[in-house]
Symmetry: C2
Subunit: 300 residues, 2 copies
């Protein structure tokens, strides 16, 4: 079964088109993880294990943000590798949020690093940034095709300052957004799973529901990764336009809204896991409820 | 002395506004580095040590491309750390080519990872990509100001496919290029070294000399990192517009053109180092000759 079909099946089984961001912010991690003189990266790994244990049967995917691991150099990347391996062992789809971008053999090195079979950092999906143009995306797409992996190309990010680049108008009159959406739609059509969806996808922020509508129409078979829900201001109603009428086609991410929502610094590991479960339940109810209302042909 | 002044002093002392790219492509590294059963990352480190030994008194800077290290996961990043540390010990300015981009506390994590004092990956300069807009650049600039570090923001990359995004027109009629150049010029003015230059710089490809001219005027005090010379098709005359009349303001990178130009797979380490020295001399003569001709107020 292809990655995209496996992911959609898990989304329907969990009734949760949700991904939990693994963004370990040291100041926010409960003190218990540092007990007994654990190093920062040991603490982060133990923290991640608890998050994964708490969420692995509630959601289909996790999204570690690699910047928070790079911060600790090679020790951080080793912690990242262990985290990815543990999440996969628990049956989760892993989305590496790295927004890599480059050209030629450098882009190919990034693609192989994050999506190549047997690479120490091998994940299922990777986020990439298209500032160097379509030619910079091709090596990533090639690796996805060859290895049945997925891509989320930045199209409309969730931040207020995105417009300067993303709304700029190309020489043919289309915006950068539109050019990218057309390119992604074309690439997605060439790699559809059995369910009609493709793992060649796009990042579309929850903070721009009207534009999400337009982008959804432009990329009907692409999976969207949707940041901006919760902490960044997007509500459940705002994410509905990122989905198709069948309730599929998008995965909504929450990082801080899950990891640190109900946790307190002094809690035990058991209490921490319970806080994560409670936060996922709240998000699941919120998103799933909005989809049941907003999707005319809900599949689950 | 500020980083930018130290770099300019070294450029003048070496008569070489040149940076050597440390892009270890395993298939191109001479066999001797793998002798005795060295692991790939051990081989890459020994290779880098020889390159650094060969170039450290000929050029002011090296630019490791982190993708080629990420390819080997945490072991690759450990090799990267050792390479950066060795280059610094040899007096070289280190430019991390990573083209990172993100927003908020994620951008801050990247900035601290690559430019923060005491970080395992601490370099002097970092390349960053502006796809998420000016707001995504601010955390990097803040760290540069606080820690006397430098930035090369992608403005005009050397690849043919760059125009779709980089030439697109913003709502105020300016291109993405022009908006970025104005922003960088403003940030640079706010952090000038004693010599009138700033470490808040831009990536401007050697493959677009006419546009380099315009961008040079738009960002008079910013340092340019110039890719595209040599292997990518830019000649010495093409890089002259990236410089000011004083022969400063830019650093021209070459990776493959230095590392693999005269090397052969069967050479000894001594022969390999000699091949690197010869390639640097050829590049130095080429670039310096063009600047002597093209710069009216050459300072060195």
């Amino acid at each position: 079964m292809m990655l995209i079909d496996r992911l959609n099946e898990r989304i329907m089984a969990c009734k949760a088109p949700i991904c939990v961001g693994l963004d370990p912010v040291v100041d926010a991690i409960p003190a218990v993880y540092f007990a007994g003189g654990a190093s920062v990266t040991e603490a982060i790994y133990a923290f991640n294990v608890d998050v994964i244990d708490a969420v692995h049967d509630l959601v289909p995917a996790v999204k570690p943000q690699i910047a928070f691991y790079e911060l600790f150099g090679s020790a951080g990347i080793a912690c990242y590798e262990r985290t990815v391996a543990y999440a996969k062992r628990k049956g989760l789809v892993v989305i590496t949020d790295a927004k890599r971008n480059d050209i030629g053999n450098t882009a190919m090195a990034y693609a192989k690093a994050h999506l190549g079979k047997g690479s120490p950092l091998e994940a299922d999906f990777l986020t990439v940034s298209p500032f160097l143009g379509e030619e910079s995306l091709a090596p990533f797409i090639d690796v996805c095709r060859a290895e049945d992996k997925g891509l989320f190309i930045l199209v409309r990010t969730s931040n207020a300052g995105n417009r300067m680049v993303q709304d700029a108008q190309s020489s043919d009159g289309r915006t950068v957004n539109e050019v990218l959406a057309a390119y992604i739609a074309e690439q997605a059509r060439a790699s559809l799973g059995a369910g009609g969806y493709s793992a060649i996808g796009a990042v579309v922020g929850a903070t721009y529901p009207q534009e999400a509508n337009v982008l959804r129409d432009a990329m009907p078979s692409s999976l969207f990764l949707v940041p901006g829900y919760g902490a960044q201001g997007g509500g459940a109603a705002d994410v509905v336009p990122c989905f198709n009428a069948d309730g599929l086609g998008a995965v909504v991410n929450s990082s801080r809204g899950i990891l640190y929502r109900y946790a307190n610094q002094g809690c035990s590991r058991e209490e921490y896991r319970a806080s994560v479960v409670a936060a996922v339940w709240a998000m699941q109810a919120d998103i799933y409820g909005a989809l049941r209302q907003g999707c005319s042909d809900m599949m689950y």
